[in-house]
Symmetry: C2
């Protein structure tokens, strides 16, 4: 068999026989005005008459041909990439035989600093819009309950309102400049636990990095350094004792990568040995909480030496930790057939592409 034939067969065999769960797919709101029908007054007026501008902003010029959008995912009628179900179905669900696509949106009112009653109303409207325009259209879609995390009690009520929807699987918390380990946010985890859901954290346009008040001068810096905010959340949840208080809580980290995880586990464990008296409610080695309670989506996966990538994945110490994601429809989309390191065993690839997410999401 020629090499070319082998490749074709391999690609087909993955498309046909390897089921895929994609844990980070962004369904996009065409325009925030589309939420108006799902809002009560006075909030409806804020959108339709008062010129509110939405939650997205990033202080960089985008030098990519499609901005932060995958060029071919743009519907071409001015709506954002990811806002057209048929295109998503064709380019993602059908093309790659995706068994389940976990929708994560990109409309995150948790980052609105003022008027969090408005943020709460927007989150609720978004959830209703998501059900009607996405979950109802395709049973392969699983949904994220969006909340206004700055008001944890209202967030808990929104979780209780929607948790019984059969396609809702998680609560989405965007990463901004606050640490979710803080007891202030615990009512959210309490609601997640009592409803048998998961927490997913995703980067946002408000994700900050260590210097320059969070936004360095260049987009390449900011995007390269995004994992810092994920590291901080991992540490915050552990040192605040969240997993002792909510022992069945699972947290999925989306779009922060994972290759930095062994280094963080080592340093945190090492420090815990000296400094544990400061956080006496932390009962186990931090890396044990990480291996038990966290999952990390693979995207964006670096194209590093495949032998070294395999070593790093082994250092994590749990084959269940990684979940596959494409991040459709964004510029750094990871293909299900081409992005995982070639050095991983067939069995481990199957776990990452499907089994791990099936188990953690109970699908």
């Amino acid at each position: 068999m020629s090499t070319k034939q082998t490749q074709v067969i391999e690609k087909n065999s993955l498309s046909i026989r390897q089921p895929i769960i994609d844990v980070d797919v962004h369904e996009m709101l065409p325009h925030h005005h589309d939420l108006a029908p799902y809002l009560e007054q006075p909030w409806k007026r804020w959108l339709t008459e008062c010129g509110w501008n939405g939650t997205r902003q990033l202080p960089y010029v985008q030098h990519l041909p499609g901005g932060v959008e995958k060029m071919d995912a743009k519907p071409g009628d001015g709506r954002p990439a990811g806002s057209d179900y048929k295109l998503m179905k064709e380019q993602l669900l059908d093309k790659y035989d995706v068994e389940h696509a976990i929708l994560t949106g990109l409309f995150y009112p948790s980052t609105m600093k003022a008027q969090y009653e408005f943020a709460t109303a927007l989150a609720s409207a978004y959830n209703d819009w998501q059900i009607e325009n996405w979950l109802d259209k395709d049973s392969r879609f699983k949904g994220s309950i969006h909340v206004a995390a700055q008001d944890p009690h209202s967030a808990a009520r929104e979780i209780d309102r929607l948790a019984s929807h059969p396609q809702m699987v998680q609560v989405l918390l965007p990463i901004a400049s606050f640490s979710y380990g803080d007891p202030f946010y615990h009512p959210i985890f309490e609601a997640v636990e009592r409803n048998g859901l998961l927490i997913a954290m995703h980067q946002s346009t408000h994700t900050t990095t260590a210097l320059d008040n969070g936004y360095p001068r260049f987009f390449i810096d900011w995007h390269t350094l995004l994992p810092q905010a994920f590291m901080s959340q991992v540490v915050s949840l552990i040192t605040n004792g969240v997993f002792e208080k909510f022992p069945s809580l699972k947290v999925i980290m989306l779009e922060g990568g994972f290759v930095w995880l062994p280094a963080l586990m080592w340093r945190l464990d090492y420090n815990y040995k000296s400094l544990r008296q400061e956080v006496p409610w932390v009962k186990r080695m931090p890396s044990e909480y990480i291996k038990e309670h966290f999952h990390f989506a693979t995207q964006p996966i670096e194209d590093a030496d495949p032998k070294e990538m395999k070593q790093v994945i082994e250092m994590i110490g749990n084959e269940k930790t990684l979940l596959f994601a494409t991040d459709y429809p964004h510029w750094d989309f990871d293909s299900p057939t081409r992005s995982l390191p070639t050095t991983l065993s067939k069995e481990l690839k199957r776990k990452i592409l499907f089994e791990n997410a099936k188990e953690v999401y109970g699908l």
Copy 2:
């Protein structure tokens, strides 16, 4: 030969035959009033009559027996650990046969936000105090020129003033919340390059992390996440084109560890392939600049699996990158005889303990 005998011989052979260069030793000012004789008016008055409180502050209670100081390094008379030359000589230089100890201090006026004329005067006074009280006492000491980085032109003048001192080897820039890649700071690099010195960056009490405005709730979080600020500086120097502008510049990163470096190199290289149009002055793969222009002190080195530590060191891809440091007299002191992973070859250990620093510092 019994195991016990072997250990004794190994320890002795390292003490006797393996020369050591320690690239991060903190000589401490007993009290900031000790700078008064080295200051001109009006600044002298600010210390002696106006109750200025010094540059150190950290918003945490310290739960370690000695606070952030190594318990046995405290002179016992109320002065801070690291302020007594005889004790340092006994506990560090003589005990471990340290060939050269690079003094790094911990009095960093770069982080003073207001009155940078005062900061400039303090940096200059500190340098004079350092020469008289440390460099003049022991030729094994090499010094750091301290500057007020918030006024880069005055910093450049201070560098020019002291660069010819035979024991001054580097300019120390503390890591706070600003990115040194910004062209604002380039006069410092220009002065460093024209004087044939090195840049050293060290964490400070003003080092910030990605969330909670830089200071998370616990010291264990802050200390675990310190490497974030180092990652940000590495990226900032590269994407701002510092190494194209100053091609002979070398940067030593102190007390930020190194195990996170491969993950950062991978992600930055990967992003560079897509985003390089944003930073057209960056001519090479970012990891090439890292391997050529950066050195990282090993301390605090994690006690992770020695096989995995060896893999990570190999992933860095340059045996010259790591330099040994104890961080004397602080709580997380690394012993020259016990802290490097047992899996490293004798040759590589020798490079890290001595040869690499000898070469980069020209000793």
